[in-house]
Structures are given as C-alpha cells and as structure tokens.
C-alpha cells in the first residue's frame, strides 16, 4: 500500500471509525437538525419558500463543513506534533507532498461524508419545491472548494505554528469573517465595502451562487466568475499548505 493511501486511510478512519470523529459528525448533524426543527417550530420560518429554505440549508451545510474542516486541518500537523508522532512521520520514507496528499484526501473523504449526510436534510426541506437537484449539484461544485480551502488553510497554519490551539483560533477567526454573509443579508451587502468583500470572499461566492441558482434559477454560465473565485481560493490555500508542509514546525 502506498504511503499516501496509508495516511489517507488513517485520516479517514479517524473520522468514521473513531469516537471523536463520530462525535464531530454527530455535532454536525445536530446543527442541521436544529436548523430543520427550527423551521417547523417557527410559524414565520415555516412559511418560507422551499427554495429559500434549501438555500439557507446549503449555506448552513457549507459553514458547518468548513468549521469541521478547520478543526481537522488544525489537527493535521500540530496534532501529530503534540502527540509526538510528527517526527516519526517526517523521518518515514514519505515525501512532504505525499504526507500532505494523504491528509488532503482524508479531509476530502470527511467532507464527502458530511455532504452525503446533508442530502436527506436537503430533501426534507426542499422536496416538492424548485431547484432541489440544482442545490445538491451546486453544493458539491461550490461547497467542496470552499470547505477544502478552509481545511488547507488551517493545515498550513497547523504546519507553520505547530500549535493546534493557535491554528484553530486563527482558522476560526478567518472562517467567522468569511461566513459573515450568512448573517448579513444581501441587501446590507450592497454597499461599496460589501461588494468588495463579496468579490474576494469565497464563502460569499458560494452563497451568492446558491441564491442565484436555487432561488432565481440562474444558469451556470452566469456563475462562472464565482466558480473561478472559489477555485482560486482552493488553489491558493493548497499552495499555502504545500509550502508550509515542506518545513513543518516540529520543535
């Protein structure tokens, strides 16, 4: 078995065959369940269009996915260091790129599990409404780069800082700032500063696409600039993680 597969399997099993990983997934589904139950317990929310609710659910899935990616990313290098397993890993016959690739694939498989767990929720709130299939497709297309990007960013922070707490805090601050459009409606972001932040924020790019596709039924051709934004985010954060992983802080 190749070193990449070994590390990938270890990371994957850390999420799905491990108490801590399952607890994370439980917390993740707890967020989605709380949101879904809020929708039916509140008269105002229960009268929202299906499409509006699916849009909100897609945004919540992306935010919760990014949150867990940040937690997982913070643990990658710094966690190994704190457990005393980083030095043996670095001295093993494996290149830094292979180590990063194994961890990146592990993160991707965790996101896949979260994505699959989100599908029943999307169906529950969106069945019978418009654009449910598009919502599922665009969550994969735009949510994946955003979530993985946050994971790679915190991997880079984790490798550089060597401290889980430090990487986690920095990652969370960046995520909170990026995910602020979830709280601030599109109307309030129409100011010049709002527009500038929206144009460079990958989270805004994904959210605005969900809005445009799920609620307004816009085609993919109208979303290409936002797709480019989230792909650039993914590329940049991967490069950062790759640079940082070459010389992780292990002392």
């Amino acid at each position: 078995m190749s070193p990449v597969s070994l590390i990938m399997r270890k990371e994957h099993s850390a999420l799905l065959q491990n108490q801590r990983g399952l607890a994370w997934l439980l917390a993740y589904t707890g967020i989605l369940s709380a949101f879904a139950l809020l929708l039916i317990s509140n008269r105002e929310l229960s009268l929202l269009d299906n499409a509006q609710v699916v849009y909100m659910m897609a945004g919540t899935v992306t935010a919760a996915g990014a949150l867990i990616a940040v937690v997982m990313g913070a643990d990658t290098y710094a966690g190994e260091r704190e457990r005393g397993t980083l030095v043996p890993l670095l001295t093993a016959p494996i290149t830094p790129t292979q180590l990063l690739a194994g961890k990146a694939i592990g993160l991707a498989s965790a996101w896949l599990a979260m994505y699959l767990l989100a599908l029943p929720y999307l169906w529950a709130v969106g069945a019978g409404g418009q654009n449910l299939a598009q919502a599922i497709a665009y969550l994969a297309l735009f949510g994946t780069p955003v979530v993985l990007g946050f994971g790679y960013l915190t991997m880079a922070l984790s490798a550089r800082s060597g401290s889980v707490l430090s990487a986690l805090l920095t990652g969370l601050i960046v995520l909170l700032f990026a995910a602020s459009p979830l709280l601030i409606g599109p109307g309030l972001r129409h100011s010049l500063i709002g527009k500038i932040i929206d144009s460079v924020n990958p989270f805004s790019g994904a959210l605005n696409t969900y809005d445009a596709v799920i609620i307004d039924s816009e085609p993919l051709s109208a979303q290409l600039s936002r797709l480019l934004l989230v792909l650039v985010w993914l590329g940049l954060t991967y490069i950062l993680a790759r640079l940082a992983s070459k010389q992780p802080a292990f002392q």
């Binding site: 399952l22 009268l47 929202l48 767990l117 169906w123 529950a124 709130v125």
Partner: protein
C-alpha cells in the same frame, strides 16, 4: 297572530334603522395588497367606522373575523397565527367622528376566505358589521414537518447508535 307578526316586523325594521343610522362601517382592501395572494403574503384591510348618530359612542369595540369558505371546509378561522391586531377596544367616538383602522393579515393557509369587521359599543345591544370582502389564497410549496421530523431526529439517533456500538466494540476488544 297577524298583529304579532306586524309588531315583530316593525320591531326589526326599527332596530335595523337604528343600527344603520348610528354606525356606518366600511371595509376596503389596501391598494398595496398582492393581486394574487399566496401563502405567506401579507394583506391589509382598511376599515372606517363612523358614528352617524347624534349621541357619542362609548367603549367602542371593533374586531376582525375571518371565515373560510372553501367548498367543504367552511369554518370560522382562529386568528392566532393570522393576525396580531385582532381588535380595537375602548374607543370613544363623538357624533360624526370616524375611526380608521388598518388590519394586517398574514396568509397562513391556502383557500377561499371572507373577512368582515364587526363593531359594538358599551350600551348598544346590536353588533354592526361591515360588508364582507372575499379573497383566494394560492397554495405555495412550503416545508413539511412530516418529512423533516424523521430526518432531523433519525440521523443523529443513527450516529448515536454507531457511537454506542463503537464503544461496545472497543470494550469487548479490550476485555479479550
């Protein structure tokens, strides 16, 4: 017998003329109401209550009523979710004065409905009613609790069972 009938007829006529002359009630839909109301929309109705009598009206109470007239589902509606502004109470209305009221209504269910404003005062033994306004509320696909509950409760429960199973397996491994 004939005399009694005539007497009753006169009494009703007299009562009707008193009510018609003391309070005039007009009800109109707001110009901003949606043309095709859909579930979740807001509609506003404007009522004008005028004291057309010669004595002041004390302790005027006016309230809104909503009646569903969908064929087969005819019933008075509980306004609990439909409106937070259900009545105007304790108002005094001198002769000739008018009371204009805006009645906002949130459309909760699809169907055919009639809205009516009723009014009475402390001393009158009559309830005055406005003409009714009828409107149709179109169905909108909204979320259904029958789909959400099994998912929202079932998936976390499934994960909890997996957690317990893992713990059980871990214990059995260590004991072996």
């Amino acid at each position: 017998m004939k005399l009694i009938s005539v007497g009753l007829w006169l009494l009703l006529l007299f009562a009707g003329s008193v009510s018609a002359s003391s309070v005039d009630l007009h009800l109109t839909p707001s110009a901003n109401n949606p043309e095709h109301p859909t579930m979740g929309d807001w509609m506003h109705f404007n009522s004008v209550i005028q004291n057309s009598g010669v004595t002041p009206i004390d302790g005027l109470v006016a309230w809104i009523s909503l009646i569903e007239v969908t064929p087969g589902k005819e019933q008075p509606m509980d306004l609990e979710d439909w409106s937070a502004h259900k009545a105007v109470t304790g108002t005094q209305l001198p002769p000739g004065a008018t009371l204009e009221t805006d009645w906002p209504v949130r459309l909760i269910q699809n169907g055919d409905y009639r809205v009516v404003i009723s009014a009475t005062d402390r001393n009158a033994h009559t309830v005055f009613t406005s003409p009714t306004l009828q409107f149709h509320v179109t169905l909108k696909p909204v979320i259904s609790s029958s789909r959400i509950l099994p998912i929202a409760l079932g998936i976390p429960l499934l994960l909890i069972m997996l957690l317990i199973l893992q713990r059980f397996r871990g214990h059995s491994r260590t004991s072996h």
